[in-house]
């Protein structure tokens, strides 16, 4: 299974980031959505929320459980995907597209170098699943 787009960066906690300049679009990976099962609510952060890399950015509720989504990078939330409040199942259906969660303004571009590329993420997945 190789559905993880090459242009994205990944964390071992199964978040992805699409980095363009000083902005990053953030969501969770296909592995994460499949593991969580039916997602019924995405508790999006308020605009302007500042987080450090690795801190809780938002919470995703599946039927089964509530799971923290961690910030893949430090920065400020400047946009949220409001469509998810009416249709959280988009995260299951299209985790890398319509299921995106927030756009962050990145504080420290160097942090991006610590993220995994798609190949590294996939080899990481093969060690845990």
């Amino acid at each position: 299974m190789s559905v993880n787009p090459k242009e994205l960066k990944y964390t071992r906690e199964h978040e992805w980031a699409l980095i363009e300049g000083n902005r990053a679009k953030v969501g969770i990976t296909d592995f994460a959505q499949s593991h969580l099962g039916d997602i019924v609510y995405v508790d999006l952060p308020p605009l302007g929320k500042e987080v450090k890399k690795g801190e809780t950015l938002l919470v995703v509720e599946s039927v089964k459980t509530a799971s923290d989504v961690y910030a893949p990078l430090s920065g400020k939330v400047i946009e949220i995907n409001n469509a998810l409040s009416k249709a959280p199942e988009k995260v299951n259906r299209d985790p890398y597209g319509e299921g995106w969660m927030v756009i962050m303004e990145i504080k420290d571009p160097k942090e991006a170098e610590e993220l995994l590329n798609s190949e590294d993420y996939e080899s990481y997945l093969s060690t845990i699943s």
Binding site: D38, Y41, D43
Partner: protein, 374 residues
């Protein structure tokens, strides 16, 4: 330390079906196959098949079996005719709930009890401690596998493989029978709110029963269902889950299970305490609530009224049928009335909620079966 989990006779079949396995009550159980919502809705609309082989089975027989069970359980066992069963509780001396279970009368002097998986050993030991001559108690949990066939199409499916008319087996009745020569006990009960059957078969022959039922239900479809759907289905009916909503520190009256406590039937363990609770009135009550905003309540979340803590959530989930967050909570008695507005603390947010009448799901087919019965 590595804790060894027990496996049901259907373990291999679950893996083949692509189930996600999780530890539950010491067992390795399927939590879902295709998805909790899909499985949940299959049971509400057609039918689902659950492996519940982890549940316990205890047989009590002999001339004093009735007398013994009257002392050990809260419901009135003397009301059971042969072939009937009842929901009941077993209490400790303080009136706390050791377990909730089904008591079925198989024969004149023989009863078949189904305690929860995590409590089966404890209940068996408790019974042995109070054993009286003339009541023989056997823990048959290792002998029986159990499959629950649940949903409005259950009768249609099961009818194809049993040698008797299922119309003669009303709700809360049980009988010994067979499915293609496999000896089984069939009970018309369940944990979903839909019509359905719980089928007990010898441990090693349980995979055969599963496969026969899956084959018969193929076109419907009949969906294999995991513990995830079992939990959301039972919660929509407000059926208590021991370990969450009830335990040894809660009594049946505050838990809303007063209907299975027959204080007038004679003495039983816990009766003295319950008489007192009843006379004084319970201080808290287990109620159903729904969220008025988005979010999902979970166990141990705080319930507040105007900023003051007034209770705690014991079970919570997203309801696939009602498409909102629902839950059960113990609330201070003054807040238990339906319509009472409260807040549930979900992480740092206070989410508005309202006490509602239960069951949450009111269109279950079980209601129709019950009406047919009398």
């Amino acid at each position: 330390m590595r804790i060894m989990l027990k496996r049901t006779p259907l373990y291999e079949l679950h893996l083949k079906l692509g189930a996600r396995m999780v530890p539950f009550a010491g067992w390795e159980m399927p939590v879902q196959y295709r998805g909790i919502v899909e499985e949940h809705l299959a049971v509400r609309q057609k039918a689902g098949l659950f492996d519940v082989s982890h549940m316990g089975e205890i047989r009590v027989k002999g001339p004093k079996a009735l007398e013994f069970l009257q002392h050990m359980t809260t419901n009135d066992v003397s009301r059971l005719k042969v072939g009937q069963s009842q929901y009941s509780t077993v209490l400790n001396e303080e009136g706390g709930i050791k377990d909730d279970l089904i008591v079925g009368r198989l024969k004149e002097d023989e009863y078949f009890l189904v305690p929860n998986a995590s409590n089966a050993e404890k209940i068996f030991a408790w019974f042995k401690e109070h054993e009286i001559p003339g009541a023989e108690i056997t823990n048959e949990s290792p002998l029986w596998g159990e499959i629950a066939l649940q949903g409005p199409s259950s009768q249609e499916i099961l009818q194809k493989v049993v040698p008797f008319d299922l119309n003669n087996l009303p709700y809360f009745h049980l009988t010994e029978s067979q499915i293609e020569r496999v000896p089984v006990i069939i009970s018309r009960t369940g944990y979903t709110g839909e019509d359905g059957f719980e089928i007990f078969s010898p441990w090693d022959e349980t995979p055969r029963v599963w496969e026969i039922l899956m084959e018969e239900g193929k076109g419907l479809p009949l969906e294999p269902c995991g513990l995830g759907a079992r939990n959301t289905l039972r919660l929509e009916m407000r059926y208590a889950l021991h370990g969450n909503d009830i335990d040894e520190t809660t009594n049946p009256i505050e838990a809303g299970l007063g209907w299975v406590v027959k204080l007038g039937k004679g003495d039983f363990i816990g009766r003295e305490v319950l008489l007192k609770v009843k006379a004084e009135g319970p201080k808290r009550k287990l109620v159903g609530f729904e969220l008025l905003e988005q979010g999902v309540p979970r166990e141990h979340y705080k319930v507040l009224k105007d900023g003051e803590e007034v209770g705690m959530v014991t079970s919570g989930a997203y309801s696939p049928s009602l498409k909102k967050g629902i839950g059960l909570a113990y609330l201070r008695i003054e807040y238990h009335q339906p319509g009472t507005e409260l807040e549930v603390q979900i992480r740092e947010k206070l989410v508005r909620a309202q006490v509602v009448e239960t069951p949450f799901w009111k269109s279950g087919t079980v209601g129709k079966i019950r009406a047919k019965e009398v």
